[in-house]
Amino acid sequence: MSDIPQDLKYAESHEWVREEGGGLVTIGISDHAQEALGDLVYVEVPDVGATVTVGDACAVVESVKAASDVYSPVDGEVVAVNEALADAPELINSEPYGEGWIMQVRLADANALDDLLDAEGYANAIADD
C-alpha cells in the first residue's frame, strides 16, 4: 500500500500538488507512481519561466525500462525546478513528497485546484491498478 498524504491534491495521472500559499504550488509524482516506475535514472524538468497548462507533458521521468511523461495538474508559470534531481533522480524514489519534488508553479487561477482529487479520491483511483 503506497503512501498518500492527506494534505495534498492529486491528479489521476499520478501527480501531487501542495499549496504553499500566495498562489504558489509545489508539484511532484506520487509514491504509487514512483513505485510503479522503479528505480529512476533521469528526470527532465521544465525551464523556469515556462508556461504550463493542465494536461501538458511538462517533465519526463525515466527508469531503465520506461520513460513517462509528467503532466501538469495546473495552469500557470514555472517559478522553480528541483535542480537536485539532475544528479540524484533517486530522490523521487526515496522521498516522493519531500526532496523529490519536481517544480513550483505560480497558479494562473487560484481556484483551479478544485478539480483535483483529494487523498481519498486518489486512493480509489489507484485501487483498480
Binding site: V41, Y42, E44, D47, E62, S63, V64, K65, A66, A67
Partner: protein, 457 residues
C-alpha cells in the same frame, strides 16, 4: 531442401503433436482469396557450386580497376586479420546485445570503439554507430536542434563545401521536421568557406553551424574561427570529419575556445572495404552535457550481482523501443559489424599506423596532382591546403575522359559539374596510401593518350 533440416518422419511427428493434417493446414487463418500462387519471376534454385560460378563471372566482369576516386569512400589497406575475425560466427551471426550476459563480446567491442572515437574526436561520449556518414550528419543536425533550446528557428548554416550528397540526404531526412538549410558559398580561390559568408548571418537565430573537415574538395576549413563564430552566435558547432585526417590534425573537441559540440562522420576509412558504397558506418560523438540527446545505442560499463565489471546497453529510455513516438530517432539496427571491424582495424594500426596512413595518403595525392598538372591543359583549382583529395580543372570535358579511362582500367576521379555547375570540366581526384608511383604513372600515361591536344580545344 536447402537450409531446412526436416526429414519426412520429423514432419509427420511434428504435425501429429500439433494435431494438424498437413503443413498447409497451418495457414488456414489466411483468407483463401489472398493466397499466392507460383512465383514465376523467381528463378529455380542453384546449388552453392552453381551460384559460386555465377558470382565469380559477375565479379570478373567488373574487374579490379585502379581507383583514383574518393568523394566520400576511400580505398585503404585493411589488415587481413580484421575481416578474418569480424566474420567469425560469434560476431557475424549474433543479434543486438539485448541479453547482456550472453553478449559481453559485442558489448565490450562497442565500449572500446566508443573510447577510441572519443579519443580521436576529443569529445566525451560516442554512440555505437549510425548507418553512414550522410545519415550521421542528418541525425547530428536533428540532435542539434533538440539540444539548442535557445534557438527556435531550426536554421542550419550549411557550407556548400559539404558533400552534395550529404546535403541531399540531410534534406530528405530532416525536411519533414522543419529543418531549414541555409547554404554558405565557398571562396572560389581557396575552396574553403570565407568568414564573410558566416558574418552575413551574425545576430540571427541559428541552431547550428556545420564544419566539414576536410571539406568535399579536400580542403581544410578555418575550423577554429567557425567553431567560435557558432558559439558567439548562440549556435551549436557540428563537425563532419574524415577520421583518418584526425590522425594528424587537431581534435574537434579542441577547435576554437570551447571545441565543437557534436562531431560526426563516415567511418568507412576505418576498416570497411569500398564495397559499392556499403555497408559502412556513421559515427557520432558529443560533449557530456548533450548525451541525453544523442541518438542510437550506447554501451556502458557497470557491475554484476557479484560486483564484477561487465557491459550493458544504457540510456535506452532515449530510444524508440521505449520512447516510441518521442524517441531521439527511429534508429534500431545500426552497423554493428562494421564497428567491430573499425575497432579491430584501429587496434592493429594504432596511433602510429593511422598517422602513417594519413601522411602517405596526403603525400600520394600531392604526387598525383603534381604529375597530372604537368600535362598540358590541367590546372589545380584551389590554392588552399588540403588533405588527400584535390580538384583539377581540365581544358576539355572530363566526363568522356572518365569513361574512356574506365574502359582502360583506371577510375580517374569524380566529375564535379553535375553537383557544382560552376566547376565545369573539373575532376575531384584522390590517391591514398594504396597507390604506388607506378600506379600514378599508369594514370598519367593513360590520360595523356586520351586527352585532346590543347590546340584542338
Amino acid at each position: 531442401m536447402p537450409f531446412i533440416p526436416h526429414t519426412d518422419t520429423d514432419v509427420e511427428q511434428m504435425l501429429g503433436a500439433i494435431g494438424a493434417s498437413s503443413v498447409e493446414a497451418l495457414f488456414d487463418e489466411i483468407p483463401a482469396a489472398l493466397r499466392c500462387g507460383r512465383l514465376d519471376r523467381v528463378p529455380e534454385r542453384m546449388t552453392e557450386m552453381e551460384i559460386t560460378r555465377l558470382m565469380h563471372e559477375r565479379a570478373d566482369a567488373d574487374g579490379r580497376p585502379l581507383n583514383f576516386i574518393g568523394a566520400g569512400a576511400y580505398e585503404h589497406h585493411v589488415p587481413a586479420a580484421v575481416w578474418e575475425i569480424v566474420t567469425r560466427g560469434e560476431f557475424y551471426s549474433a543479434y543486438t546485445p539485448y541479453q547482456a550476459e550472453a553478449s559481453q563480446g559485442t558489448l565490450q567491442v562497442i565500449y572500446e570503439f566508443q573510447t577510441m572515437m572519443c579519443g580521436l574526436t576529443g569529445l566525451d561520449v560516442s554512440n555505437a554507430s549510425l548507418y553512414d556518414g550522410a545519415t550521421a550528419l542528418a541525425e547530428a543536425l536533428l540532435m542539434a536542434v533538440r539540444a539548442n533550446r535557445k534557438s527556435k528557428s531550426h536554421r542550419i548554416l550549411m557550407p556548400r563545401s559539404v558533400s552534395p550528397v550529404y546535403r541531399q540526404v540531410v534534406h530528405a531526412i530532416c525536411a519533414a521536421q522543419q529543418l531549414k538549410l541555409v547554404e554558405l558559398d565557398y571562396d572560389p580561390a581557396t575552396g574553403a568557406t570565407p568568414e564573410a559568408a558566416l558574418a552575413e548571418h551574425a545576430g540571427s537565430d541559428i541552431a547550428a553551424v556545420v564544419i566539414p573537415h576536410p571539406n568535399f574538395f579536400g580542403c581544410f576549413e578555418a575550423v577554429d574561427s567557425m567553431t567560435d563564430w557558432a558559439h558567439a552566435n548562440g549556435a551549436l558547432a557540428v563537425a563532419v570529419v574524415n577520421p583518418i585526417a584526425l590522425a594528424l590534425t587537431r581534435a574537434p573537441g579542441e577547435w576554437g575556445e570551447q571545441g565543437v559540440d557534436i562531431c560526426c562522420g563516415e567511418g568507412q576509412p576505418l576498416g570497411s572495404p569500398l564495397s559499392s558504397g556499403g555497408p559502412y558506418f556513421g559515427f557520432m560523438t558529443c560533449k557530456q552535457a548533450l548525451v541525453r540527446q544523442l541518438p542510437g545505442r550506447i554501451v556502458g560499463r557497470t557491475l554484476d550481482m557479484d560486483g564484477k565489471p561487465g557491459f550493458a546497453l544504457t540510456l535506452q529510455a532515449r530510444e524508440q523501443h521505449i520512447r516510441r513516438g518521442k524517441a531521439t530517432s527511429n534508429i534500431c539496427t545500426n552497423q554493428g559489424l562494421l564497428v567491430t571491424a573499425a575497432t579491430i582495424h584501429m587496434s592493429i594500426l594504432g596511433p602510429v599506423g593511422l598517422q602513417q596512413v594519413a601522411r602517405a595518403s596526403m603525400a600520394n595525392t600531392r604526387k598525383l596532382v603534381a604529375a597530372l598538372t604537368e600535362l598540358p591543359g590541367i590546372e589545380p583549382v584551389f590554392t588552399g591546403a588540403g588533405f588527400h583529395e584535390a580538384v583539377l580543372r581540365f581544358d576539355q570535358p572530363v566526363r568522356p575522359l572518365v569513361d574512356a579511362l574506365g574502359e582502360r582500367g583506371v577510375i580517374g576521379g569524380y566529375a564535379l559539374e553535375g553537383v557544382y555547375p560552376e566547376l565545369t570540366n573539373c575532376l575531384l581526384v584522390c590517391a591514398t596510401e594504396t597507390k604506388t608511383d607506378a600506379d600514378i604513372d599508369t594514370y598519367v600515361q593513360t590520360l595523356a593518350a586520351l586527352m585532346r591536344p590543347a590546340s584542338a580545344a
